[in-house]
Symmetry: C2
Subunit: 383 residues, 2 copies
Amino acid sequence: MAEMFFPSVQLAIKPGTIDLTWGQPDPTLLPVEEMRAAADAAMSKYGADALGYGADAGAGPLMHWLAERMGQNEGRMPAADEILITAGISDALDQICTHLTRPGDTVIVEAPTYHLAVRILQDHDLDIVAAPTDAEGLRVDALEGLVSELDSAGKKPKFLYSIPTFHNPTGASLSAARRRALLELAAARNFLIVEDDVYRELGYDAPSPPSLWSSAEDGMLLRMGSFSKSLAPGLRLGWLTGARDTVQKLVRSGLRDSGGGVNHFTAMVVAAFCEAGYFAAQVTSFRAAYRERRDALAAALRAHVPQAEWRVPGGGFFIWGSFPDGRDTTKLKEAAEGRDVTFIPGSRFYVNGKGRSELRLAFSLYSPDELREAARRLGEGAG
Amino acid sequence: MAEMFFPSVQLAIKPGTIDLTWGQPDPTLLPVEEMRAAADAAMSKYGADALGYGADAGAGPLMHWLAERMGQNEGRMPAADEILITAGISDALDQICTHLTRPGDTVIVEAPTYHLAVRILQDHDLDIVAAPTDAEGLRVDALEGLVSELDSAGKKPKFLYSIPTFHNPTGASLSAARRRALLELAAARNFLIVEDDVYRELGYDAPSPPSLWSSAEDGMLLRMGSFSKSLAPGLRLGWLTGARDTVQKLVRSGLRDSGGGVNHFTAMVVAAFCEAGYFAAQVTSFRAAYRERRDALAAALRAHVPQAEWRVPGGGFFIWGSFPDGRDTTKLKEAAEGRDVTFIPGSRFYVNGKGRSELRLAFSLYSPDELREAARRLGEGAG
């Protein structure tokens, strides 16, 4: 087998480079020992139940724990038929597309938005249109205009894909007034909201804003949650709460009828992890580490790259920058890579060709010292 | 939370009933202690690499082990770009549909075929047509006629979904001559074969027939493998080998670009499981247990239900029966349930309304004594 090379992990960084591309948890912060203990506990507690075909909606103990946590943290507990275990948000979005859309259907995303969610939508041949955002998140007024325009063209959006909390890539959180307005608009114009809530547990300054799901009426919203950022990405484990009809459509799908619940073994291990109190400890430790990194990078960017405007987020993994002088961040990337630092230019996050002078910097993978060094090099590259 | 009930497992059997419906491994045979040890070993050996986003094609150590095993057992080793880790065969089939088909496309299945695979195809709005089988498996001559008919109607099948080894539901294995003929036909008529190889490790009498993949030319075949029957279903873990273009299309999909390799943590645990030699021991123990069950049920059926013709398989989980007197097995099921035994009538496995006098009996879940009792009750029900 010497001739075959199979890597283990997705992360691929050029040696010596400080790579601010990756919105991934720092591997050195991942709870290896706690996962070992949780796997052991799961085998003791659940035995063969952790190894059989799981219930179609997902592993019972994990759904219990999640529902209780939502009740405590969000003031809303999903009914038993309003929650589903997924293999993470990418899987949830893929399955939503399979079961709610057909090629050529229209979906709305934010501009900018998570670029790899766009790839999943593209794999389903959807017609993707974008609604603008600003520092407060999605511009609901502009969205209303867009929905009207689509309506005039005889197009009804199948859903809006939105990241209202600690947005990827901008870090913005939708204001409370806009959350209300968005839910009202969706109700009035009868479109589904698919809420990407992946960064909920990673708020650094204050309690995270309430999810859209927590105040949405039945039928109009699906909230996608995940353990990828709050525990470990390799688990491929998340959940979906909301619109009962769609949740039950997924529960009764051929995929689950045939294969049972998604990632059942992992879900049972994570149930044991959460029940042992490790989850609460883990997010506390993540928050402290990432807060320090965010603060270090933000301060260093203001010192070393004052030409750009920097948006410092209340949570999540990203600082978003824009150059009022209109410079091309694709060119800046080349200059930066000459100094062994890199990032993703803003245009990558737009489906409509914008973002030329913007950029996303992920601070999750590096120490404060490395982030300061990255900002210094970036400043040199920016000239 | 007392008011919410979340089950853990898919299996739901009426107390007192011997339920021959479920093609599931016996929970009491699942390797709980070995999985505990493997999880521990994986955390020691791989640490945070088992918890990060896995490589898009899947966990490296598991792909290594699989490729080596295929080389030894099948005489063919996949190239590094011809193998992919999946979340099991249901997931693989779902992803193949997402990436290779569009609603209205035609696919061919066997008659009868695995009924829940049909549900996955239906979820993608495919036009499903069926080719007949007999005791030697798929009738390749009839398939040729069907492909010609479709061609005359301007329809090109996107793929043939086939279970050539220890078929579900019939237990039949495609003869060597037909395997050659099928590959030749697919090459001549240029259609893709999607081979469901889930029971490969569960042959009871002799080495399993070689997979179609092992002698297929590049581009014409995708073989779906799984740990669901040979190790444990709750892992939701399998693999895909074959057609390089399609394998790479899946590797480069938005789903994997966003989420990384499928079920990475579980895959790393299973890599440790396999490397420790537990896999070989597990399939040996499964084979011995299921062989005994098959033999017990087959003998008892011949004694107690001589009105039917019984096909005793060389592997897998099912005995297939048919009543030459043409009786309706849906009615027999009612009579059987009055005697606390149940099964799936044959019509459930056909997309073309056939199978009225046929039935599938799964022997994997019960002891030889229980299976003998089931046959006795079935004989009473058959009158």
